[in-house]
């Protein structure tokens, strides 16, 4: 990179700005931001994944593959993915921000094929992408959540999970097809994160509410009048949702956003009522804020920064409640683990979700595995049917690296926490077809 290259790039930016000035509709109003001087932030990691020898990583993946094949898998695809983003930000506000961000995501997909019937089934890993170092792969007994299948909290045992996944892929081939109808759904955090992402995270993004994403990601049913009323019942009184760019271990945790604003935590839904949005510097004045909420992000140095989703999480129940007790209190239900197919309309009303594994609950007991399950609901009806949330001991993070938005499209990495939660009387459809 030469000085001439930098000057040419600036000239091109000026030419674009001049060409567009004639169609500017309204002036930009940036919320004031104080300069922080020279500051730095680093993801609090124990082991830098980039300092772990490649051989250790390939040995892990090859042992995962071998375990799946030994268990009868037809195919196994395992991936180790790690990111170290070193980001430097400088602004005329007087901020010079140096950040060293680490993220990690080990994952796999096991596929079982039954050649005779022509059926195939897959089971994905129950790992989560995390804002952590390689220590995520050093699972300790206290990180394991026991139950019908082991799930993971803060740390992950890839080898143990692939063995379980292989057994479950075999089981899925033979599982009975679901009878469509209304069921109480018990959703594990490994599944619920995606429902939170789509039906709470996205509609509370202020740029969608205002129409800036109308041509691509869509708008939002959570219009300003609903927020202004201070009584829009988004969900049942159990539902408390926070946005948090500081949560340790989460994908979205950084010290400062890409407008040089210190990151923070704030409420979106309190006791079921919509109380706030996610907004950045040029939007803050619209909802009466004196400062940005610090959720501006660009996926790379050559992309424009704009409002992106913070970590958006459902708070655990305030009274002691285990998953076992939740199942015991369910007469006709389905227990869903892992995320699967997902789709939601452009204003975030109507959604449909699948999962990885589905267990039928009859009269308080797990009655076996089901197949071909997807649930459809209206966002507001669904969150108002929230009847029970397990306590803090069950709280776990899920998330994704590929939250897409913007034109040209950019990816954002974001986590969503929750404890296992029950929703009553949700519409379940059967997805089996024959071609």
């Amino acid at each position: 990179m030469t000085k001439e290259d930098v000057a040419k790039t600036a000239e091109r930016a000026v030419a674009v700005a001049k060409a567009n000035a004639k169609i500017q509709a309204e002036p930009v109003q940036l919320a004031p931001q104080k300069g922080y001087g020279e500051v730095s932030w680093k993801t609090p990691i124990e082991i830098n994944a980039f300092e772990v020898p490649i051989k250790d990583k390939t040995d892990l993946l090859l042992s995962v593959n071998a375990a799946a094949k030994a268990g009868g898998a037809s195919f196994i695809n395992s991936i180790f993915f790690a990111v170290n983003e070193q980001k430097y930000f400088a602004s005329t506000d007087g901020s010079y921000i140096d950040q060293d961000i680490h993220r990690i995501f080990p994952s796999f997909v096991v596929t079982k094929i039954d050649a005779a019937s022509g059926k195939f089934q897959s089971r994905k890993s129950l790992s989560s992408p995390m804002g952590m170092g390689y220590e995520y792969l050093n699972a300790r007994p206290q990180d394991k959540v026991s139950g019908i299948v082991t799930r993971y909290k803060n740390r992950y045992d890839m080898l143990e999970d692939v063995k379980a996944a292989t057994a479950e892929a075999n089981q899925k081939i033979k599982a009975k097809t679901v009878e469509p109808g209304k069921y109480d759904l018990i959703l594990d955090p490994s599944h619920l994160w995606l429902t939170i992402h789509e039906s709470v995270g996205h509609p509370t993004e202020l740029d969608r509410v205002l129409g800036y994403e109308a041509n691509y990601a869509g708008t939002s049913f959570l219009t300003l009048d609903k927020w202004e009323s201070k009584k829009f019942q988004f969900g049942s009184k159990l539902v408390n949702v926070v946005a948090d760019k500081t949560q340790p271990g989460s994908l979205g945790a950084v010290g400062y956003d890409d407008e040089g604003v210190k990151c923070k935590k704030w409420d979106l839904i309190s006791d079921g009522v919509l109380v706030n949005y996610q907004a950045i510097r040029d939007q803050a004045h619209i909802i009466g804020l004196k400062e940005s909420q610090g959720c501006c992000y660009a996926q790379s140095w050559n992309d424009v920064q704009f409002q992106r989703m913070a970590n958006v999480s459902l708070q655990p129940g305030k009274t002691k409640l285990s998953v076992d007790d939740m199942i015991k209190n369910t007469e006709k239900g389905i227990y869903i683990i892992g995320d699967g197919s997902f789709s939601i309309d452009q204003q975030r009303y109507n959604f449909q979700f699948g999962g990885q594994t589905f267990y039928e609950i009859k009269n308080g007991k797990i009655a076996g595995m089901l197949n071909d399950v997807a649930y459809q609901a209206n966002t507001r009806e669904f969150w108002n049917s929230c009847a029970a949330i397990a306590d803090e001991s069950d709280y776990r993070l899920g998330g994704a690296f590929n939250d897409g938005k913007g034109q040209p499209s950019q990816s954002n990495a974001v986590s969503h926490g929750s404890a296992t939660t029950r929703f009553n009387g949700v519409n379940v459809i059967n997805t089996a077809r024959k071609i």
Binding site: R12, I23, A25, F75, A214, N215, G218, V304, Y349, Q376
Partner: protein
């Protein structure tokens, strides 16, 4: 300038290969120049100009390969990237499926590059968008849209003497028009190699007309309906089906796998009105003439009158199966008839006109069951006429089942996928028994 000529690319690639000490080496060089403008609420929101140039070196020792990339082109950087790929290759495990590189091949020059598109400036984009915004202001609507142009080139050279070069241009435009109350919405999308074919004013007028027509949508019961899918809706739905990979089918993990083993090659899987092929020299939808395996891309029929005519074979899978390699589709063209959307409406006793589909995701890869929603103009048809707008639906449908239920196909037109932005030539289509499973309140 990130767009290198054939000769400039050749010079760099030769130099890089000169640094190689590996058994085999392949070097890819690609660059793009382009710009974009995004608008919402009848004003510009973001815009940019982007220029990229990158090099990828793949070194191989025996069956051990690794790739390293760089975007600096001084001799020292080029030597470094080659050395890094060689060091990584020595560390890599053997790839049992490694295929030796191909020697020199003859590739015809592609026809996807248009000078006027390569010459687009920020002013060209701003003027095109200004026309679109003015239509919406005049119609008392709010426009949100996006226009992006790209000029790109790809070149590859390997240590066995293969060299290939391709250059193309592309421009895409999409606009969503909504009223201030949020009770009406319309959409239009266009994609071309040639900017002179792009008319943002007419496209926005169509979107505005859809928006105005969509006001006051009535709720009707979900269920099975005859639908007319406009090309932009059909394209997004069918895009999920255009994978004709033999290996996945042979291995039993594709909708083209046969129960009991083998593939559905030669089987009639769809209505006989369905013929789908690819052709790099289609003047409406040109594509590259070679792929990264060093294979020539030629006109190939995938579905012929409803029968699975060809499956694609990588060089490795072809060798294993004892057949000739066949590259996957370079573009997708679906044959149709001469009817317009209006003609299809006139011949419909009772049905739904679908302007656009949204958020399509795979539910079951075995049957290609997809779910998604209608949006931006969904209308009830009775006795050959549009009667009134209807509320949007969620659907659960497989494109394979859908193409078995074809009543009629209209005239194919170039259309873009609203998710991938890839262009296709797809006809509007009338489909019976399309499954809508619930209603959506979204506008």
């Amino acid at each position: 300038m990130a767009i290198l000529s054939k000769e400039e690319a050749q010079t760099i690639l030769k130099k890089v290969l000169g640094f190689s000490k590996a058994d085999e080496c392949e070097v890819g060089l690609s660059g793009s120049e382009g710009g974009n403008i995004r608008y919402a609420r009848n004003g510009v929101s973001t815009a940019g100009d982007i220029s990229t140039l990158g090099l990828a070196v793949t070194s191989t020792y025996g069956k051990k390969s690794a790739t390293s990339t760089i975007d600096q082109f001084d001799d020292k950087s080029l030597q470094t990237v080659v050395k890094r790929s060689e060091e990584l290759a020595q560390l890599a495990p053997e790839n049992p499926e490694y295929m030796p590189l191909q020697g020199p091949q003859e590739f015809p020059e592609g026809i996807g590059y248009i000078n006027s598109t390569a010459a687009i400036t920020p002013d060209t984009r701003a003027e095109a968008v200004l026309k679109s915004i003015q239509v919406c202001k005049d119609a008392n609507l709010q426009a949100a849209g996006f226009l992006e142009n790209t000029t790109g080139f790809n070149a590859v050279m390997n240590s066995k003497g293969l060299f290939a070069y391709n250059k193309d241009t592309d421009v895409i435009f999409s606009v969503t028009t909504r009223n201030a109350e949020g009770t009406a919405s319309g959409y239009a999308a266009r994609g071309f190699n040639d900017i002179s074919k792009l008319d943002t004013l007419t496209a926005t007028k169509i979107a505005a007309s859809k928006a105005n027509g969509s006001k006051g949508a009535k709720a009707i019961e979900p269920g099975k309906y005859t639908v007319i899918l406009e090309p932009v809706a059909a394209t997004y739905m069918l895009e999920n089906m255009f994978r004709f990979d033999a290996r996945q089918a042979d291995e039993g993990r594709s909708f083209l796998s046969k129960p009991g083993g083998g593939t559905r090659l030669g089987e009639k899987l769809m209505d006989e009105k369905v013929t789908i092929y690819s052709d790099p020299f289609n003047p409406e939808l040109p594509s590259a003439t070679w792929d990264r395996e060093g294979d020539k891309l030629e006109k190939t029929t995938w579905i012929d009158k409803g029968v699975v005519k060809n499956l694609s074979y990588s060089r490795y899978w072809a060798q294993k199966k004892g057949v000739k390699p066949l590259p996957g589709p370079s573009n997708i063209i679906m044959e149709g008839g001469t009817a317009s959307v209006e003609d299809l409406i006139k011949s419909t006793e009772r049905g739904i006109l679908v302007s656009r589909l949204w958020y399509i995701r795979m539910v079951d890869p075995q049957t290609l069951l997809l779910t998604g929603l209608t949006r931006d103009g969904t209308f009830y048809i009775e006795n050959g006429k549009i009667m009134y707008p209807v509320k949007n639906f969620r659907f659960n449908e497989s494109p394979v089942i859908m193409l078995n239920n074809v009543e009629a196909l209209g005239k194919p037109e170039r259309s873009i996928s609203v998710e991938s932005y890839r262009s296709y030539l797809i006809p509007p289509m009338k489909i019976r028994d399309f499954t809508f499973s619930s209603l959506s309140d979204a506008v």
